[in-house]
């Protein structure tokens, strides 16, 4: 296409500028601006028209794609699944909407770029860089004015005005601080206790299996198993179930008593059945990636790892405390029960948390 009009074009490498400047004398002399090179579309009207057609073609494609978007929205069944090669089985509607909208937006962008590069004015506008500061005259003038202003206001002389001004300026930000109160109210004792607080030695609370909603006997928990429990009386239909279970959730594991390294933790359990809080002490994710051979429980959020055979000691990761353990035993009928709350608050640390 271009060979027939090449005589219209300037030499590709115009030697008039640039090359001869830096060779003599100062090797770092300012080479100045490169010569202005006209684009093909500037000199060749046919090229310009072609570029114009290309740009408008892209805009037209964008319009068609938008029409396609609306058409596919209206016509494609939302449940239709089709096979598209690298993607596999996908929803035809999702695919069509994404494709058409993508093409529509891309063509507008590409058309605009092409337009700017080929047809819009290409005058080069050098913008010189200067130091940011004002020149000396201006600066002196401003400093002078400031001094006069200060002298005329009597700021240095009238101490009362000055001090009250300082005071009022210092107090204004407080209004912002007061607004922070809206983040409250403080949690008070709510974080200290869980639903197990209702358990007492005289009135023990049964552990209820999350799967079956039934209380459990000790022999139901076999070694190597993992069971989740909630306090008796907490029902999934309760209005505040989610808030409650976020603190009350237990995981029950059974470890051969001789494998439990921490004697205190062994005593809190019942014949090797240990009841730990399911809530990570880092930022409170539910943890229960329990490895029954190593007795490690891993938190999926930031990989805190607790050794359940050793009082849920933190052996890796950001958690700051071991998992709280609930003291359990059995009642006369042999069901697992708790006789009190956790010794320490469950979940992440907070300022008022007792050490």
């Amino acid at each position: 296409m271009s060979h027939d009009m090449s005589e219209n074009l300037p030499e590709a490498h115009d030697a008039s500028h640039g090359t001869d400047v830096a060779t003599h004398g100062d090797p770092f002399a300012d080479p100045g601006l490169p010569a202005h090179e006209p684009r093909r579309t500037d000199i060749d009207e046919r090229a310009a028209q072609r570029a114009e057609r290309q740009v408008s073609l892209m805009f037209v494609v964008s319009m068609l794609a938008t029409v396609g978007f609306i058409a596919s929205y209206a016509s494609i069944d939302a449940d239709k699944i089709v096979y598209i090669f690298p993607l596999g089985h996908v929803s035809a509607l999702n695919f069509a909407l994404g494709m058409t909208l993508g093409v529509a937006l891309f063509c507008i962008g590409a058309g605009a770029v092409h337009w700017a590069r080929t047809l819009m004015s290409d005058h080069e506008l050098p913008a010189e860089r200067h130091p940011i500061e004002a020149d000396d005259d201006v600066r002196n003038d401003v400093i002078e004015q400031f001094k006069t202003g200060a002298a005329e206001s009597g700021f240095g002389r009238r101490k009362l005005i000055r001090n009250t001004l300082f005071g009022s300026l210092a107090l204004v930000p407080l209004s912002g601080v007061v607004l922070l109160r809206d983040l409250g109210p403080l949690p008070e004792k709510k974080l200290l206790h869980t639903g197990w607080v209702e358990a007492e030695p005289s009135k023990p609370l049964r552990l209820v299996n999350m799967n079956t909603d039934q209380p459990m006997k000790a022999e139901d928990i076999v070694q190597g198993s993992l069971t989740f429990a909630k306090p008796e009386g907490l029902e999934e239909s309760d209005e505040d179930f989610q808030q409650q279970i976020a603190k009350d959730a237990l995981m029950l594991v059974r470890i051969a008593p001789e494998d439990i390294k921490d004697a205190k933790s062994r005593d809190k359990g019942f014949e090797g059945i240990l009841a730990y809080s399911k809530i990570c002490t880092h930022v409170g994710c539910p943890i229960s990636l329990y490895e029954q051979q190593t007795h490690h429980a891993l938190c999926p959020c930031h990989q805190s790892t607790f050794d359940l055979a050793d009082g849920a000691r933190v052996i890796f990761g950001p958690a700051g405390h071991p998992l709280p353990q609930l003291k359990i035993t059995t009642d006369e009928q042999g069901f697992l029960v708790a006789t009190g709350d956790f010794d320490e608050p469950v979940g992440p640390s907070y300022w008022e948390r007792p050490r």
Partner: protein, 273 residues
Amino acid sequence: MKKLSARRRHPLAAVVVLLLALAATGGLYAAFAPAEKAQADSSAQSLAIDEGRKLFAVGCSSCHGLNGQGTSDGPSLVGVGSAAVDFQVGTGRMPAQQPGAQVPRKKVIYTQAETDQLAAFVASLGPGPVTPDSKQYEPSSDPVTNAEQVAKGGELFRTNCAQCHNFNGKGGALTNGKYAPSLEGVDSKHIYEAMQTGPQNMPSFPDTTMPEEQKREIVAFVRSTNDEPNPGGLTLGSLGPVTEGLFGWIFGLGTLILVAIWVAAHTTKAKKS
């Protein structure tokens, strides 16, 4: 009555009484004898145990000991039951390539018949979970009941399984290089057995804490996630934010950077057109 008393003295009376007594004892025994005992005595079963013992000696005894009592290289198999054998051997995990915390799934080298014989032998070492039959694990084929099972199973899965196997069963990482494998394409039977027996580091979910029916519902849910089409296209492993973020940062931002470089390198002026 007269007739009977008249014959009491008959010389054959004692024999008749003895025969009657023997028949009664035999009948009572047949009615009340424990069923497993009777099964264990059946020759087919003891034949399977014998065959299993031979297979065990060749393939398993180097780690688990000749009598399955366990050695320093492998745990004791007394009381693990036939379900555990059927799972471990049936998914190719056993015999293990090398000892270690993670025993990966690989090509199955025993036929189902051989696996059953091995299972029979190990089951004879001590009672344990029994290989389930398809009535226990296959989800209902009735669409309505099935949908119900899937819904309940989904809830149970999110409570009990999702933490390790990911919310749609794609698996995930554990500690020290261990991982929870993907559940994609795993036999219903093997999913059921895994819950029953707790292979390797997976905790077990015995019938006492997760009744049979609930296990079946979980299987139904896993089956349905396996066949679920994926409306959005590229799943990136369905692993959630890790792969999606990585993809976004590398390919999304990478493409934008390349475009930016290309635009900048070509100036605003088109020399050719």
